[in-house]
């Protein structure tokens, strides 16, 4: 109950952000929440199930292009595109998961990077379908309603922010339910000792595949909504660099902890975006941070928190 109250309070507080923040601040917050969904999703497969993935940006892109292509060719609205983005990204998660089952460690990292690159190259080169390097323009969400009852108009920056906040809140709840379910415990079992997990009757194949699909589905949701927020889907937003940012967020926060990627998303989105004239050093900053964190603090910020707690106890 304590967790739920804190969570509700945090969401309520964040929902009030447009009252104090200007246009730039609000865009940064929207980006923060998008990164949060991506990192929480990555944490499911990499943190809990122990299957490293450099492909989160690819699934992010698949979600975004689902929105863009469906709006363009079918004229569907957000309530169809968002679930479609989640499902299609999840299916691609399965496509990556099947070959990834055969490999571990370094090889897995390579396979996910290869997948990320193939998706990027396809987005760039299949010009007829994806619009090539220029991408596809996406119409705004506009006037819409939930089941025809609650009507609202998503046009302003604030309304996109609230929509992203709603998605982030939903993602956190779903992730919480997942990692505290039987499936979540099976992920942890596979991460900690695959042979042992197999010996006690865990089906490691479906367990790993489900982690890949769940992680991809989170990224697909973030992408499907982000395409609306950005009003465009273009390949350069889905490169391996974006994957590395998501990875840095998860690692700095603390992989395999529930709060880690959430804390990481706030720190690693807000600090680089407020660098101002130094923003061209942003990627350099991520790279150095990635090396320093993994070398000196592999458990991330949550490890510091845990250390402080045990010392006090």
């Amino acid at each position: 109950m304590k967790h739920l109250a804190l969570f509700a309070a945090a969401i309520a507080l964040l929902a009030l952000a447009p009252m104090v923040l200007g246009g730039h601040g609000l865009s940064v917050m929207t980006l923060t929440l998008t990164n949060l969904v991506l990192a929480v999703g990555l944490n499911l497969v990499a943190g809990y199930c122990g299957q490293f993935s450099f492909a989160q940006a690819a699934f992010f892109g698949i979600g975004a292009y689902t929105t863009a292509i469906m709006s363009r060719d079918l004229g569907t609205g957000v309530w169809i595109n968002l679930p479609a983005g989640i499902i299609i990204a999840g299916l691609f998660g399965l496509v990556l998961g099947v070959p990834a089952l055969r490999v571990k460690g370094h090889f897995l990292a390579i396979v996910t990077i290869a997948f990320q690159t193939v998706v990027y190259l396809t987005l760039v080169q299949w010009t007829d379908f994806t619009g090539g390097q220029n991408g596809i323009l996406v119409p705004g969400v506009g006037e819409t309603s939930i089941l025809g009852i609650i009507r609202f108009n998503v046009q302003s920056l604030e309304s996109y922010y609230w929509l992203t906040l709603a998605l982030a809140a939903l993602a956190i709840i779903v992730a919480w339910r997942l990692v505290h379910s039987r499936l979540g415990r099976e992920w942890i079992a596979v991460r900690d000792d695959e042979t042992l997990a197999q010996a006690v009757g865990v089906n490691t194949t479906t367990t790993k595949l489900s982690a890949f699909v769940a992680s991809a589905a989170f990224a697909g949701a973030a992408g499907a909504l982000n395409a609306y927020t950005m009003r465009t889907a273009a390949p350069d937003d889905f490169t391996i660099f974006i994957s590395s940012i998501i990875l840095a967020i998860m690692i700095l926060g603390g992989k395999g902890t529930f709060l880690g990627p959430i804390v990481g998303a706030f720190i690693l989105t807000i600090i680089p975006e407020s660098l101002g004239e130094f923003s061209r050093y942003k990627m350099l900053f991520f790279g150095v941070l990635l090396i320093l964190t993994i070398t000196f603090l592999p458990g991330g910020i949550m490890q510091l928190v845990r250390n402080a707690r045990t010392r006090r106890a």
């Binding site: 055969r102 490999v103 990292a109 690159t117 790279g287 090396i291």
Partner: protein, 290 residues
């Protein structure tokens, strides 16, 4: 038929550079069990260093080559300090993340210092034609497979017949026993990293006359190297050599007969197929892929 032979020659040139980058990767993995994602950046920096020495400073090619070798060896030394010394005994995924971070740092440092402008190495040798039957190559390109054969041959001799090579192979087979026999493990690690970096740097220098060098080129190169290593079998130098040439040829034929857009994708498709069909690589021995 004449065109086919020309594509074949082009494939061998490009494949030779893949061999050079992949050999270092497979060497470091075989001996230290570490995968270095920053290899593509050694290639990129080798290319820029070579262009700086040969084109900007106007030094003779052989002097530039030696400069690139020294520079790449220094890079390898520094990389070993960051990737091996610090994270060696912890989780193996840590070295993946760490080397990935190093790759991002080097790319962005190059972007800031050198700028995004692609550069090409121009030398007098690019004007000298070499014609073998219907195949035409500028001398500069024809020298790339030659350099590859010389370097891989030298590595082979080094590994087989010298004291350093024997300790490297001992490390690859049984690190603990090697340490007990008095091999200085830390020195072996440095030598391995430096050798790997020199191979990648020289490849970058040689290829800077064929493909433009730019700060982000390493991404693609490191993926090619991984493709080669997966196809050839991790840890196998011979496998890397064969698979590197094969990848170069397949790519050349794909871009000639199926379309240039598919060129970079075909390698990854091969990787997926190989992983599903022969998880140890086509030329690999049985070892767990972890």
């Amino acid at each position: 038929m004449d065109l086919f032979l020309q594509y074949l020659a082009n494939g061998i040139v490009v494949g030779s550079s893949y061999v050079l980058v992949a050999v270092g990767l497979t060497l470091i993995f075989g001996i230290l069990g570490i995968v270095n994602f920053a290899r593509g950046e050694f290639y990129m920096l080798g290319g820029f260093a070579g262009i700086g020495l040969a084109t900007v400073l106007g030094l003779p090619l052989i002097v530039s080559l030696l400069g690139v070798v020294a520079f790449a060896a220094l890079l390898g030394f520094l990389a070993e300090q960051i990737l091996n010394r610090q994270v060696k005994d912890k989780d193996p995924t840590n070295s993946i993340v760490s080397s990935f971070g190093l790759a991002v740092v080097l790319q962005n440092a190059a972007l800031l210092v050198i700028g995004p402008q692609p550069m090409l190495l121009r030398t007098d040798l690019s004007m000298v034609p070499v014609e073998i039957g219907p195949v035409y190559l500028p001398l500069q390109r024809a020298l790339i497979p030659v350099a590859m054969i010389v370097l891989v041959g030298a590595l082979h001799l080094l590994l087989r017949h010298t004291w350093v090579g024997m300790s490297l192979r001992a490390m690859a087979q049984q690190p603990t026993v090697a340490r007990m026999c008095g091999i200085r493990v830390s020195r072996v690690a440095i030598v391995t990293f430096m050798t790997g970096a020199v191979f990648a740097g020289v490849a970058g220098f040689l290829m800077s006359s064929v493909f433009m060098v730019h700060p982000l080129i390493g991404n693609m190169i490191v993926l090619k190297a991984f493709t080669v290593v997966i196809l050839g079998g991790m840890g196998s130098v011979t496998g890397a050599a064969a698979a590197g040439l094969m990848l170069g040829l397949v790519e050349s034929m794909t871009s000639a007969y199926l379309g240039n857009g598919l060129r970079d994708i075909v390698g990854f498709l091969m990787v997926v197929i190989v992983l599903l069909a022969w998880p140890q690589g086509i030329f690999g021995r049985n070892l767990e892929r972890s």
